[in-house]
């Protein structure tokens, strides 16, 4: 395995914004991307003249299937008035956004561009659930995994069954991750489900009473999460609240050559590490309790950055399902194998814990518009590192952060390390 190379010159993030994530019948991918671009522009401290942007990389999984629209990159570039700049769509399933960031980093580090816009966008809610499920399934190995009847919840549920067998975790442990992510999302105005599970449950009770139906007998959120009518099983052991939703949304970040960062802000966020890896189908992996591509990608990113897992203060990781966050926390080296679920239970990954994970609310509660998620990770990192995360701000100095973005069951993983120097 070749060691990671280094960046030929430094890359800095000088702006980051996102649209609201949710279900927006009247908005298409273009509308969402324009919104994200406008939000990003507002965050550039010294202002942005968009004409300085030289190239665009857009993460998008499947506008082809979701909107019957392929070739989305020049369309989004045109929507923000930036043709004839080179525009490239990046597709690596749910890792599309993170891999788009990597392309932007490489374009700048190589000297090919000084100012690059990296975006991510997905419009999923125009299709019904069955159609969305089938579109998402195309991220798996169609001839060799799908005939077995697997769905995406199913793949991660199978990983959970192996993890439970190996480490004694019970499915209830996963609920801690969902509770934490909803607690965080309740403080994120852009979140699709910006509500705690407590509030959600109370809303369900109130709605039943209002309709004249017998009130559900849930006293605590644990009653609710254990009840099939509140939290139905989707693919055992995973239930509704273990699964990220179907979402519309977009995010955009502005990357520049480090030596020009001062033209945009005096407080840039430097991207100092990047790692990416691929892998074959889930069934080819000897150990189903880990995602090998995540271990490789993070090792490369840490090596390039010259830091270790211990140095990372906060992380946005790919919680497409609760079990994915548990496994990620171990793959990234934050906790030993088999300890991730205990760390979540002990509150170590909460905002006030030793290793805050997914302060944005995660994919689970913030939303998961597939191509946008990897870029939205960077938006949260931007806000947290610059002290702009409002009510969900993590305390203290955040000089190092990490984003982890996974495609399918881990056939792609991309990790970036960010540094704030001033």
């Amino acid at each position: 395995m070749p060691t990671s190379k280094s960046l030929a010159r430094g890359v800095a993030m000088v702006g980051a914004g996102m649209s609201k994530f949710g279900a927006f019948a009247e908005k298409n991918t273009r509308d969402l991307f324009v919104e994200a671009f406008k939000e990003m522009k507002k965050t550039v401290d010294k202002g942005l003249d968009p004409s300085v942007i030289e190239a665009l990389y857009i993460g998008n999984f499947s506008s082809d299937q979701f909107e019957h629209q392929a070739h989305i990159a020049p369309l989004l570039t045109d929507a923000i008035g930036l043709t004839p700049r080179p525009a490239t769509r990046v597709e690596d399933a749910c890792a599309s956004g993170g891999v788009a960031i990597r392309q932007g980093v490489m374009a700048i580090a190589s000297g090919m561009a000084d100012v690059v816009l990296v975006g991510g966008a997905e419009k999923m809610t125009a299709l019904n659930t069955a159609a969305v499920t089938e579109a998402l399934a195309t991220a798996a190995d169609m001839p060799f995994e799908i005939p077995a009847g697997f769905t995406f919840p199913g793949f991660y549920a199978a990983m959970a069954s192996a993890y439970m067998h190996q480490y004694g975790m019970k499915s209830e442990h996963l609920m801690n991750v969902a509770i934490k992510n909803h607690d965080n999302a309740a403080l994120n105005p852009n979140a699709q489900f910006g509500v705690t599970i407590q509030k959600w449950m109370e809303g369900r009770i109130a709605a039943a009473v209002k309709k004249g139906k017998p009130a559900p007998t849930w006293s605590t959120i644990w009653d609710f999460l254990h009840d099939e009518s509140g939290n139905p099983t989707v693919a055992w052991p995973l239930r509704l609240f273990d699964c990220s939703p179907v979402s519309d949304g977009a995010a955009a970040i502005l990357l520049v050559a480090e030596e020009r960062a001062h033209e945009f802000t005096d407080h840039p966020i430097h991207i100092i590490g990047s790692g990416q890896a691929s892998d074959s189908a889930l069934h080819d992996r000897p150990d189903l309790t880990t995602i090998p591509a995540a271990k490789i990608a993070s090792a490369k990113a840490y090596e390039m950055a010259g830091v270790t897992a211990k140095d990372i203060r906060i992380a946005e990781v790919h919680d497409c399902f609760t079990i994915a966050e548990v496994i990620a926390s171990e793959d990234l080296g934050f906790f030993a194998p088999g300890e991730g679920f205990k760390a979540a239970e002990d509150g170590m990954t909460a905002r006030n814990g030793a290793k805050p994970i997914n302060t944005s609310g995660g994919l689970k509660a913030k939303g998961h518009p597939v191509g946008a998620s990897g870029v939205a990770h960077a938006v949260e990192v931007w806000k947290q590192m610059r002290g702009q995360a409002d009510a969900r701000q993590v305390e203290g100095d955040i000089s190092l952060a990490l984003t982890h973005n996974v495609g399918a069951t881990g056939s792609t993983c991309v990790v970036h390390v960010y540094e704030r120097r001033n």
Partner: protein, 146 residues
Amino acid sequence: MSEETTVVRPFSAAAFDQYIAEHKLTAARCTKCGGMYVPPRAICPKCHSEAMEWVGTSGKGKLCAFTVILSGPTFMIEQGFDRKNPYISGIVELEEGARISARITGLDMSKPAEIKIGTPLNVDFVEFGDGEAKKTYLAFKAEDTV
């Protein structure tokens, strides 16, 4: 050195499906390093050799991971599966070492927490549809089923 004959199928998904339709679970083996792969590969991921051969398998394996799916894709719904009639998708490790995704039959789905990783399984082939529309799906059945 064996000669290429017109009988050797390419190491492709289409050829694999053809074997499945014939109720055979056939693997691709690398003649250079012995690596065995099912589903098949045309190029060995271990040693990068292109000298592959088809070999039979015993059909015996064990359960590595599984899930009970209550909300499946259209082609499973068409076969009669739904929340009240779920099915199991799993990952099986063959006796020969290779692993594959497959339907798992013969297990009690009403108590998923009691299903044991490591349960011995035997290859099975599930057919659905008639004539031109008939499809054969790879499955593994738990031994000693009631």
